[in-house]
């Protein structure tokens, strides 16, 4: 049986239940747990739930050290870009310490952050930074697009013995969706087909899944059957499921909120180019953010970001190319 839950709520429930299950899970960050009335503080006390100063390097560094000494910290970072002031901790400490120690330590921690604030937050708060993390050996990256995945991936993240960056899209925060009852877990590295289709594969993550599903709906009305694949985790990346889908449809559109060369789309495109080349009946096409920072003003912001319309027209163009080639 499934319950309806908001995306953000699904995450909170997963953290709460994991904290109940495992006393070594701790949760801290800026601007949380301010008072004793905080629900997490009430449940778990001020040792396990803490407020921090604006000190991302210390916050994440402390998580790493705590993880090596027996805790499983979840660090609330609010916005993924704030990790950048401390990016060494994310990509050059957490994922490397185990390897450099010859397997002697493990670093189970979760860096949780919102991203993609495409609502007038302008140039420094609206970016997608996953491209900089998805290729780092030792690091896992989750990017859920539904309430169920949000919950299941957070559970998996907390139980994982490796550092995990867990990115939840701001624009999905209050979206509702069904969440399975019980100990619902989504394994890392398993893509999900959010909609089945036969004519074209659309690969998208997070908010772009929502936009791609809307585009697919529109395309369906015109008789075009689009399959929407959501990798759900960018590291590990489930290339097989994507290639299988391409094998079926023969065409590929990749949708990503980030600018093209900072996108996961480009990396996925590269994988398909190597491993799915023979299945492609037409060149693939990427629909990404334009090559600009994100501007503040709404008309400009909309212009630079991928939209339903851009996805629809990209799909049509890969189908047209096909037609021409036949």
């Amino acid at each position: 049986m499934a319950r309806e839950m908001m995306f953000a709520e699904a995450i909170a429930v997963a953290i709460t239940e994991e904290m109940q299950r495992d006393p070594s899970v701790v949760f801290y960050g800026q601007n949380m747990a301010m008072t004793d009335r905080d629900p997490f503080v009430r449940k778990f006390g001020k040792d396990r739930v803490r407020i921090t100063p604006i000190s991302e390097t210390a916050e994440m560094g402390i998580a790493i050290g705590a993880a090596m000494n027996g805790l499983r910290p979840v660090v609330e970072l609010y916005m993924a870009e704030f990790m950048l002031v401390a990016f060494d901790e994310v990509i050059n400490e957490a994922p490397r310490l185990r390897y450099m120690s010859g397997g002697q330590v493990k670093v189970p921690c979760v860096f949780k952050a919102g991203f993609g604030f495409a609502a007038g937050w302008a140039g420094q708060h609206s970016n997608c930074t996953y491209h900089a993390m998805m290729g780092i050996p030792g690091l896992k990256v989750a990017v859920p697009s539904t309430s169920a995945d949000a919950m299941g991936l957070m559970r998996a993240a907390i139980r994982d013995d490796n550092p995990v960056v867990y990115l939840h899209h701001y624009m999905l925060t209050i979206d509702k969706g069904p969440v399975p009852e019980g100990d619902h877990i989504v394994p890392f590295g398993v893509a999900d087909i959010k909609r089945e289709g036969t004519d074209v594969t659309i690969v998208a993550t997070a908010w772009m899944v929502k936009k791609s599903l809307a585009a697919a709906e529109q395309l369906a009305k015109e008789g075009i059957s689009a399959e929407v694949v959501d990798p759900r985790t960018l590291a590990p990346l489930d290339v097989d499921t994507i290639v299988e889908s391409v094998k079926k449809t023969g065409r590929l559109v990749l949708v990503d909120q980030a600018p093209r060369h900072a996108s996961a789309a480009a990396v996925i495109a590269g994988e398909v180019a190597e491993h799915g080349f023979e299945y492609l009946k037409a060149p693939m096409k990427m629909v990404t953010g334009l090559n600009t920072s994100v501007p503040y003003s709404e008309p400009m912001e909309s212009y630079v970001l991928p939209s339903e319309e851009k996805i629809v027209s990209a799909v049509k163009s890969v189908l047209a190319r096909h037609a021409a080639a036949v």
């Binding site: 100063p53 604006i54 002031v85 302008a122 701001y170 400009m300």
Partner: protein, 343 residues
Amino acid sequence: MGASSELSNDKLKWMYTQMSRIREFEERVKRTFVEHPGVIRGHAHLGDGAEASIVGSLATRHENDLVMPSYRCHGYPLVLGTSAKAVMAEIYQRKTGVCKGFGGSMHLADPAHHLPTASGIIGQGIAHAAGAAYAAQVKKTGQVVYSFFGDGSSKQGAFYETLNMAAVWKLPVVFVLENNEYQAYTHIKLEDANAIAGDPLSQKAEAFSIPGVTVDGTDPLKVYDAVNEAAERARSGKGPSLVESKFYRFSPHGNAITVPPVPTQFQEHEAIEVYGNKAEFAAAQANDPIKKFRAHLIGTGVLTEADAKKIDDSVRAEMDEVVKFALESPLPAPEDALNYVYA
């Protein structure tokens, strides 16, 4: 007696006027969320409560001195001479905005009026300010750079690294730590080791062996004296100082963070909303810097009640025009977004 005792009546009036303009401007930004929902996007942060600190600091400027505020940056350009219309238009997403709609509330920039940029990422602007001061030093422009940042920001590594480098390089920069007791929803006693120990935050200056002072940031003349001394020190090649200016912000951190299309507004101040501490908030309001300075100027005969009212009225009239201008200005064209990526 500090240097402020030598300020002319005109200058004092100018200071009062600027304080009043900041207050009224911020009130209008806040009201916009009620009166014109959707016109302001993202996150806007107001400077009401900071007026004495901002104006007392900037009153010490010499021509060409630079100012680098944090993301809570509406007040500074108003004082520096940027058109209030252009500032409001920016916040309203307009093509006529001071950044043509590219920056918004958190990223005001007007280099023509000595405000190069404001960064939205905590602490980083402190380094940019020191950098501008380094350029001033190398190019011998005589400029002093004023760096403004919050109490919360003083916990970011950038603050610490920059102050050490500025001290070692003896850069002409004044660091004004605006201690308004909160970083967003967090009271300073929850995050600052000095504050928890009952020590002033200016004590952080000891880590760099530079002067550190704490000043009543609700009194523009005390701020003037402290910042002026720091600026003179910087100007004479002796290097940076840290001035902790203590005041209270009257509005909450920013408009509530909601996901579109859920409407957003300013709620109650965190003191009440989060901590249920009405007394703290009431005490701060009783200590309103603008009311205090108004009374002071009237008490010392610089202004009559009528003068003061005239200023207040003209400020209100200005801001009526400002809102009107901003509302009526056109939005940028979508394709404008392709500009300015590269110089």
